[in-house]
Amino acid sequence: MNIMTLLGFGDKGWALWLLLGAMLTLAVTAVALVIGAILGAAVASAKLSASVPLRVLGNAYTTVFRGVPELLIIYLIYFGGSSAVTSLGQWLGYQGFLGLPSFIAGALAVGVISGSYQAEVFRGAYLAIARGELEAASAIGMPRSLRFRRIIMPQVFRLAIPGIGYVWQLSLKDSALVSVTGLVELMRASQVSANSTHQYFLFYIVGGGLYLVLTSLSDRVFTGAERHANRSMPSASMGKA
């Protein structure tokens, strides 16, 4: 069959199918980034806290989720989550198997992984704030919550942008592994179209190309965001990282 027909928008073409897959990849990654940001902030503050048990817990989280293959974590959350949901259903009186929706399981799994990397990004950004500024805030009698909101938050956010961009790229590529749960994101969409047409080479090349489009576009977005966030900083600190 003609390549242009296969990659077109007609009823024999797979273009719409692949583009929808790419959209779903973006959606999974975006939800995972938000989940990861919440987890990452919590873990980073645990790692920076004065309490020893909290620090141990924070370190255990980052060691385990950065040291274990992503695929295993996806299996843990997809299969483990499904059996948890099933037993919850039985407790509520529903007999039979209940699955965790694959979008939620996938976003949660990629989010948990992304959280372990974001924790390190936030911790690094917090440590990069000049100590003098924190002391100055305390010296003029700023309460802790106000100091957090006015001094720490804006700077952590600005310093974390390059790191968040790196984590986003990682999550974008990790989200391809969510295809094992059957969620039709870009990887699974390429797989289905390759299997149904037997044009494996063509569709994996096209799928890979679409991933390249996603990664290079998001690279631009993050470079722009970094420039925007640093617009009021002396120019010497711009363009780095």
């Binding site: 040291g67 695929l71 295993l72 390429s190 037997h198 494996y200 890979g208 390249l212």
Partner: protein
């Protein structure tokens, strides 16, 4: 906690460790060699080779490893040139395809890490070497490569740990390494948490050993940068 189940799971998973290690060792060494070629093309001064190297790095770092692996495993078999070619007995093996795609992918990442190491070599060191008449291969061998490798080692260690985790994807092209066996056990027993704990423990232990070894190497390579014990 069911100790009998945990220990039998652990034993089944431990039996798969050699496969994980084989994938890891082969792909890291092949990928490392390929990365040297790519980085040589990238910084060698020839604009055509540099553009090819840039393209290589862009493609292999910008797309997921899984799609690269599927492209090699399912995609190559489609061509009769390869199907009836001399390399087919090798390329039809899932293990070979897994190693090949892992190596190609890590070469892209490692080339960038090595390039960072080369850029960190100070111009003064190069000038000093040139001024005493050192040039070409000798300069690379004695000055550039050792200093660059030492600078690149911390980032390269991270990449090596990522590779240990990436070997898990080989299970998706039917190579039975630790993650693949774990997934099969989960399907047979539905005891996700216990199987996960055992497999996680194995990967954490492997990564710990690799990181200790690399830390030792880093320590040895920077011997001359530490103060002499007992001196001054």
């Amino acid at each position: 906690m069911d100790l009998a189940f945990l220990s039998s799971t652990m034993l089944t998973l431990i039996a798969a460790i050699p496969m994980t290690l084989a994938l890891f060792a082969l792909s890291v060494s092949l990928g490392g060699m390929l990365a040297l070629v790519v980085v040589w093309m990238r910084v060698g001064g020839n604009p055509v080779l540099a553009a090819i190297a840039k393209g290589y790095i862009f493609v292999f770092r910008g797309s997921p490893l899984l799609i690269q692996m599927f492209l090699i495993f399912y995609g190559l078999a489609q061509f009769s040139v390869i199907r009836y070619g001399p390399l087919w007995p090798l390329l039809r093996e899932p293990f070979v395809c897994a190693v090949l795609s892992l190596a190609l992918c890590t070469a892209g990442y490692s080339a960038e890490i090595f390039r960072g190491g080369i850029r960190a070599v100070s111009a003064k060191d190069i000038e000093a070497a040139r001024s005493i008449g050192m040039s070409g291969p000798l300069l690379v061998r004695r000055i550039l490569a050792p200093i660059a490798f030492r600078h690149a080692l911390p980032a390269y260690s991270t990449e090596i740990v990522l590779m240990m985790k990436s070997t898990a994807l080989a299970s998706l092209v039917t190579v039975w390494e630790v993650t693949g066996v774990a997934q099969r056990l989960i399907h047979q027993t539905y005891r996700t948490m216990e199987v996960f704990l055992c497999a996680a423990l194995i990967y954490l232990a492997l990564n710990f050993i690799v990181l200790q070894a690399l830390g030792l190497l880093e320590h040895r390579l920077s011997r001359h940068l530490r103060p002499v014990p007992g001196g001054r």
